[in-house]
């Protein structure tokens, strides 16, 4: 999931935040990565453009693992 890591770090860098290294599936989007709702909104657009899946379509997604699940289940 190198690409997903890149997307997450693009969103962080765009906001002037520090990039996060060694992201794993247990990472919580808000608590560990530091996303707020604006970042999450941007994340969905970028993931949709890349994987053609809207990760928040059926409700809240909390962790990196849950995103990967959504992408794999599309």
């Amino acid at each position: 999931m190198v690409l997903l890591n890149e997307i997450i770090n693009t969103v962080l860098k765009n906001r002037g935040k520090e990039a996060v290294k060694d992201i794993d599936e247990s990472f919580h989007l808000r608590n560990d990565i530091g996303f707020d709702s604006l970042d999450l909104a941007e994340l969905t657009v970028r993931i949709e453009a890349e994987y053609n899946v809207d990760i928040f379509e059926d409700g809240i997604v909390n962790t990196v693992g849950e995103i990967i699940q959504k992408i794999n289940n599309k």
Partner: protein
């Protein structure tokens, strides 16, 4: 050679004599004007005035289905009727033509359709008096040459057309031409007046040359940003800049120097500001289906600068505000801020629906410098705008899409 109209993109030059010939030799009249060629539209309008018959202006890019929805007709040619010679005297010269048009009576009417940002365009019917309310015919205006920078079947274009026609001015097509063709036309014909949307002007700047022939630059339809205005002043050093407020429903109403609009005392009883929205009294509107209430809600959000005399600035369109997670974003404000960045020529801000926030702010940018990228735009905006107003998706493009009226497209 006394020219009436020219279009350098088509190598077209039409004299007043040719116009008179065309008018005198026309034997049929169709109230529906559905033509692509600007001259044909102008000739059609003049013919309707001479005959004192209704004219219905249809955009040349309306589809057959749209035409049918708007007019209820499947065949526009069914309404063509022969012109009876006794109804239309032969016109011998330009002065006679203009005087005849000035005498147009109450039988004449013009139907236009608003560009309709939502759903089907609205129908608006104008009288000669309501459509020419702001036309000024004076000796000074007689030498003007007009750069025609609007769609000829839209209200703004009609206003320019009547201003030029009743003063006997030459009209030069600029709408839909390339930047080079526009500047070539200005130079070739010594254009003195241009009226256009800020979007049109933004496509002209920057430019290395300057043109002293242009005496007046008028803009309307959107807020004008200072950066473009400054660049335009370099290209047109002799021009006075005016901003007008006009709508399809009411025609031209107010003028402004810079962005502050002022209301003439005689207009004050017809203007109201309610919850920051500009309301206009129905007596100023064309005859139309929706003017049954006393005040017409323009949908234009204004900010009062002074109460007495009344002065205000336009802030945005009511239906253009983008809701981002409950916060309202004015796309015009975001565009204005982005345009301040060195190396950015034009920008369009729009909403994309989003499962997290309802909407997310996106923008398309035309850049003139390689140093501009997503990160540099964002870091500039971070000190200028609230976080939720900053576009989250920035795309680089060669050209900004505009509406049929020449304003920036929002969706």
């Amino acid at each position: 050679m006394d020219l009436f109209y020219s279009d350098i993109s088509k190598n077209q030059e039409t004299t007043w004599d040719k116009l008179l010939d065309d008018l005198n030799n026309t034997t049929k009249y169709n109230p529906y004007c559905y033509q692509q060629d600007f001259y044909s539209v102008f000739k059609h309008i003049i013919l309707s005035l001479l005959l004192e018959k209704e004219i219905v202006l249809l955009d040349s890019d309306f589809s057959k289905e749209e035409i049918q929805k708007l007019t209820g007709l499947t065949n526009l040619n069914k309404n063509i009727f022969p012109i009876i010679k006794s109804e239309k005297q032969v016109i011998n010269n330009k002065t006679e033509l203009i005087n005849r048009i000035k005498d147009t009576g109450s039988n004449w009417s013009m139907t236009l359709f608003t560009s309709g940002t939502t759903g089907l365009p609205k129908k608006v019917v104008h009288s000669f008096q309501s459509i020419t309310r702001f036309v000024k015919t004076t000796e000074i205006n007689k030498a003007n040459v007009w750069g025609f920078a609007y769609n000829p079947t839209h209200m703004a274009g009609i206003q320019v057309f009547f201003q030029a026609l009743l003063n006997g001015n030459l009209i030069i097509r600029l709408f839909g031409l390339s930047k080079e063709q526009i500047f070539n036309s200005i130079k070739k014909f010594d254009i003195s007046n241009i009226s256009a949307t800020p979007t049109f002007y933004r496509l002209l700047v920057p430019y290395q040359d300057s043109f002293v022939c242009v005496k007046r630059i008028t803009s309307g339809g959107e807020k004008f940003d200072e950066k473009t205005a400054d660049q335009l002043k370099q290209i047109f050093p002799n021009a006075k800049f005016t901003n007008v407020y006009a709508s399809t429903e009411a025609g031209s109403l107010f003028a402004a120097n810079g962005n502050n609009f002022f209301i003439k005392p005689e207009m004050e009883p017809f203007v109201q500001i309610q919850d920051n929205e500009l309301l206009i009294h129905k007596s100023l509107l064309g005859k139309s289906a929706f003017s049954d209430s006393e005040w017409y809600h323009t949908g234009d959000i204004v900010k009062i600068v002074s109460e007495n005399p009344l002065q205000f600035q336009f802030v945005s369109r009511k239906n253009e505000m983008i809701n981002v997670g409950g916060y309202k974003v004015n796309p015009g404000e975001v565009e204005e801020t982005i345009r301040k960045i060195e190396g950015i020529q034009n920008v369009r801000v729009f909403a994309k629906s989003n499962s997290v926030l309802g909407n997310i702010i996106c923008c398309e940018v035309v850049k003139t410098s390689d140093e501009i990228d997503e990160v540099s735009i964002r870091s500039f905006l971070q000190s200028k705008l609230q976080e939720f107003k900053i576009p989250r998706i920035i795309k680089f493009t060669d050209k900004i899409s505009t509406t049929r009226t020449g304003k920036i497209k929002r969706s």
